[in-house]
Amino acid sequence: MDLLPDDMVASIFGRLPPCSLAASRCVRRKWCAIIDTRRLLRADLLPLRLDGFFFLEEDLRGGKYFFSRPSTGRRISGRLTDFLPDECYGDTMILDHCNGLLLLWERVANPATRQSVHLPPFPDPCTEGFYPVFFLAYDPIVSPQHYEIVLIPLVPSTRIEESSNIKFREDSEWPPSIFTTHVFSSTKWRWEERSFVREGEAAGTIADMHSDWQARRRHAVYVRGALYVHCQNDSVMRITLCDDK
């Protein structure tokens, strides 16, 4: 097989489904080069399977239950304490999840690979008094090693005092036309302040948001490079991480 010309090897690879190409890529360096230089692997066609899911309780105890098929359960660990280091014992609340990756407090964990990594300290929101919620953006098809975390500030439940030294008033638009927040990038391995330009109308004013402040009800979905966040006032904010909109 080593003696075959690259063209012949490539014509063999041309007959493989994406998942077998993904496996072949790991077999030898030369094969990886053939597959990559000819762009044979269409990662977007790789099958994403549901191998398991967590059921999270909404109460303060934050109970979580993991469900998986017996065949995958051996591989994927739903018991986070099995592979998290001892130091984070007791702090395994799942803040968010995205395509198989879990976001815990200052930690990202992958139950499929039983790996976890400690992150730099989570920042406070850019605006004082706002409550931070963190969302994970991860797409293994686009970039299996890379993920981002976005801090979405929640408008507090109490009225903003006219005298307080912050840039929003009760009748300010929310989200503002330039929305500045903290984003963590795993490639740069640091939190950065990033500003996103609002494309549509504001969802409302600061005053509209007060009543709906509970952090635990917040969810977001990450699809095709865009994070859709269920915001206060039941609006949905789309954040496109690649072009800051």
């Binding site: 097989m1 075959l4 012949m8 007959r15 077998s20 993904a22 496996a23 072949s24 099958p47 293994p140």
Partner: protein, 174 residues
């Protein structure tokens, strides 16, 4: 692919050509069968390979050439019919059975065939052998592929590299 003379010529006898393997074995075969090779077809069209001349094939040994010709002789009638659009289902099933049996061979023979099909540009045989190797790879993990194809066990360095690659798309085939 239409053969130049498909065997029912005026003199009633099929035109024959001689092919000479790298180890100097001579194979006499119908021109129609040898013409499945794009490389040979031009020479044969020019009238080469007949009589005592023979066409030398310095890249193909006799064992491989005999196997290649077995394929060509079996497939020549269907090829003469222009890819066999009017072949019966029975004919097609018979060819398929032949093909499956044909590639049920040692890997070393398979690789020689891949090289020969490539050098002689025999389209059908190229697809057949490529498909065979692809089938050996399908549905397997990287380690299983290595074992199936008889690659030596990875060195620690290669293993580390494999592990790094598996982190990327490992979820797709595990």
């Amino acid at each position: 692919m239409a053969a130049p003379e498909s065997g029912d010529g005026n003199n009633g006898a099929a035109r024959m050509v001689t092919l000479i393997s790298s180890d100097n074995t001579r194979f006499e075969v119908e021109a129609a069968a040898a013409s499945l090779s794009q490389t040979l077809q031009l020479t044969i069209l020019d009238g080469g390979g007949g009589g005592g001349d023979g066409i030398p094939l310095p890249n193909v040994d006799s064992a491989t050439l005999s196997k290649v010709l077995e394929y060509c002789i079996k497939h020549a009638p269907a090829a003469a019919n222009g890819g066999a659009p009017n072949a019966t289902a029975v004919d097609r099933a018979e060819l398929e059975r032949f093909d499956n049996e044909f590639v049920n061979i040692d890997q070393s023979v398979l690789y020689s065939l891949i090289m020969a099909a490539h050098n002689l540009e025999i389209e059908g045989l190229q697809s057949l052998v490529a498909k065979k190797v692809a089938d050996m790879i399908k549905g397997k993990s990287p380690m299983e592929i290595r074992r199936t194809l008889g690659f030596p066990d990875p060195t620690p360095e290669e293993q580390a590299e494999m592990n790094a690659h598996m982190l990327e798309y490992g979820w797709a085939y595990e």
